[in-house]
Amino acid sequence: MIEHKKEVDEIINKYIGQKGNLIPLLQEVQQKEKYLSKETMRYIAEKTKISIADIYGVATFYTMFRLKPQGEHIIRVCKGTACHVSGANSILDAIKQELNLKGDEDTTSDMLFTIMEVACLGCCSLAPVIMVDDNTFGKLTPDSVRKIIKQIK
């Protein structure tokens, strides 16, 4: 189901007919809907006359687009070079343990958190770094990251 149909329509109307419109259109729809469901993508294809294959192709090419529902809070774990050599893996492990996520799971069952590994947040001097929604936390240790997650919970 498309949750914010009215807003989605507005976004489509804003971009329709503009050249190079697909990526910003999908970005804005995702911002409203939190993710791009098959139904949403079909709906956009129908309205814009862009083929569903093109839309799916773009949505799967860029890491920003999510095809599954995501948690209320997004935790971005930086896996850049500086973070990697400063122990980003142990930070990721600590978060996964704290959230009780096993293997490839990235979203908690209560839909509160989704974790994402990102290439570089550009705050290398504060490595290791994570971003929770729009807030960046740096110079982390497994202990301090657990505290941060507990506080948000």
Binding site: M64, C120, L121
Partner: protein, 589 residues
């Protein structure tokens, strides 16, 4: 006495708590009715000392403080008002001892001329620093040919990494015949470990816009795009504000500076794909398609965005342009070496004391950059290598520390200058693991178009993974080299052609470490978890229980005041016990 307080509010400052410091200053000034104002500024470059504030009196000496907390605000302001400024944590000051004065003196700030000085959200601040004067000079007094000649004379080479002469690139685009041309700024800074472009966009967005106006006029474009990665929300916010302000002042739009030149500028947000830093992929992405590179020729200068002649430069390149036009090519060419003119911005990160953003003249040695400007190693472990150029670059060992930082000297080592990420590594870093890390990255980011890049990097990653797990064989080293050569030959774009560099350079300079993993089944740096083991030395353990309580998987048993034991089957080798033991009773081998 009236004074100003500037707070460094770029992403790294904010992450370190600059927002709270700013609010505290604002409230304190208001509550105590102090005749002073508080301003935001960009990255001062000394990220290791964030949050940073600068107190600027109307006359007299301004002082910059590092590691400021909200609790310190009152103390700092009161002392300053009383004419006895705090001496502790002073990082920059004109007439007194300060920890970073010398650090700044060794730098030459052309690209970073305004970052950390002006309020990036104020066009007035930029105008006070001779902002848009270069664009005015170029549009009113120079012909496109004269601008191109000036750029050629300056010797400026593309700062995105490949180092193609900017003047020449502009000339190609200028000579292309078309009713429509585009100019594009590549701000898709995807290299992990690099944040130069972010800092420039966050701290001085107008310098990039002004560079683009001059470039557009020189090649004859009337429309431009800044392609910025979506992971940089603050940079996008500052750019949006800067474009609106520049439009209001008439620096963008129609009949700029009263000439017949029109120029419209848009921002395109990236959606997370490293390959979009490649220019043909970037253009496909602006057009709303999957960001896949295509064969060149035709080069973008002949057929680029929507089939029209297009010129693409990187953020740092554009930020250099107004300075060159304003001060002249000769002045710029005074800096640098014979073939690499000017300065280069580097993002220092990793195990270095003074991590942050620096700008130095080309030709400085790596040793000077790391030890003099960067303050040397952060930990007491010795220097092992420095990674330049991100996933396309390589690791340079200690024996080559006297290599000069210029395009040609760096290329000779097998690394590349790249966009300017410099990650310093100590002996606690495993080079096989680093090579695996980069291969994992390029393998993930390969767009999949070329077989060698798509499959070859995957096979290389599998080999590296088994070496780090102690399952490698000596023949694997030959296989890696063979695959690397074929990937370089068989890939269309820069991503694939350079993807094997991290493996090739580590094989060249740190081969012993590969052999240790394969033959001795040991990771000398103690990083690869499959090859290390933690153990408690019975005689040293006092039974304080700290390790047992901190162990996330309850793998440590023992009673209070009695030696503890690690259950090797349960241990996940996270190293928390090792780090938390105050008695050095845990060993890693």
């Amino acid at each position: 006495m009236s004074f100003k307080i500037k707070v460094g509010m770029a992403s790294c400052g904010l992450a370190a708590g600059a927002g709270k410091v700013y609010t505290e200053i604002e409230e304190y000034l208001k509550k105590n009715k102090i005749d002073a104002s508080v301003h935001k500024t960009g990255c001062i470059g000394m990220c290791f000392a964030e949050p940073i504030i600068e107190i600027v009196p109307e006359s007299g000496e301004s002082i910059t403080y590092g590691r400021v907390t909200p609790e310190k605000v009152e103390e700092l302001i009161t002392a300053f008002q009383n004419g006895t400024p705090e001496k502790e944590n002073v990082i920059l000051a004109e007439n007194q001892k300060a920890s970073e004065n010398e650090n700044l003196n060794k730098q030459t700030r052309i690209v970073l001329r305004n970052t950390g000085k002006i309020n990036p959200e104020s066009i007035e601040d930029y105008l006070k620093e001779n902002g848009y004067k270069a664009a005015e000079k170029a549009l009113r007094k120079m012909s496109p040919q004269e601008i191109i000649a000036e750029m050629k004379e300056s010797g400026l080479r593309g700062r995105g990494g490949a180092g193609f002469p900017t003047g020449l690139k502009w000339e190609f685009a200028n000579k292309a015949k078309s009713d429509k041309k585009y100019i594009v700024c590549n701000a898709d800074e995807g290299d992990p470990g690099a944040f130069m472009d972010r800092s420039v966009l966050e701290g001085d967005p107008h310098s990039v816009i002004e560079g683009m106006i001059i470039g557009a006029f020189a090649i004859g474009a009337d429309e431009g795009y800044i392609y910025c990665r979506a992971e940089y929300p603050l940079a996008i916010k500052h750019l949006e504000k800067a474009i609106t302000d520049a439009e209001e002042k008439g620096f963008l739009g129609n009949k700029i500076f009263g000439t017949d030149f029109n120029f419209k500028l848009h921002i395109k947000k990236g959606a997370g794909a490293f390959v979009c830093g490649e220019e043909t992929a970037l253009m496909a992405s602006i057009e709303g398609k999957r960001g896949m590179p295509r064969i060149r020729p035709p080069f973008p200068a002949q057929s680029g965005l929507w089939g029209k002649p297009t010129n693409i430069n990187n953020v740092e390149t554009f930020a250099n342009v107004p300075w060159i036009i304003f001060h002249g090519a000769k002045e710029y060419a005074k800096y640098g070496t014979e073939k690499s003119k000017g300065t280069k911005v580097f993002a220092l990160a990793g195990k270095i004391k003074k991590s942050g953003l620096i700008e130095v003249p080309m030709g400085m040695t790596l040793r000077e950059v790391i030890y003099d400007v960067g303050g040397g190693m952060k930990t007491d472990k010795p220097f092992k290598g420095v990674q330049l150029g991100g996933p396309s670059g390589g690791c340079i060992p200690a024996s080559l520390l006297d290599t000069k930082v210029d395009y040609d000297s760096i290329n000779k080592t097998g690394a590349i200058m790249g966009s300017g990420g410099m990650v310093v590594m100590d002996t606690g870093t495993c080079m096989v693991d680093v090579a695996k890390f980069f291969l994992n990255f390029t393998q993930n980011e390969s767009c999949g178009k070329c077989t060698f890049c798509r499959v070859g990097t995957k096979r290389m990653l599998e080999i590296l993974t088994r070496i780090t797990e102690g399952k490698g064989e000596m023949e694997d080293l030959d296989r890696l080299e063979k695959l690397a050569t074929n990937i370089i030959k068989g890939s269309l774009c820069g991503l694939g052609q350079t993807a094997p560099n991290p493996v090739l350079t580590t094989l060249k300079y740190f081969r012993d470490e590969y052999i240790a993993h394969i033959k001795d089944k040991k990771c000398p740096a103690g990083v690869c978890t499959a090859l290390i083991k933690f153990e408690i030395i019975e005689e040293k353990c006092v039974g304080c229980t700290v390790c047992a309580r901190k162990c996330p998987v309850q793998a440590i048993d023992g009673k209070v005041k009695q030696p503890h034991v690690i259950n090797q089957d349960k241990c996940i080798k996270c190293g928390i016990c090792y780090d938390s033991c105050k008695f050095d009773a845990i060993i890693k081998e």
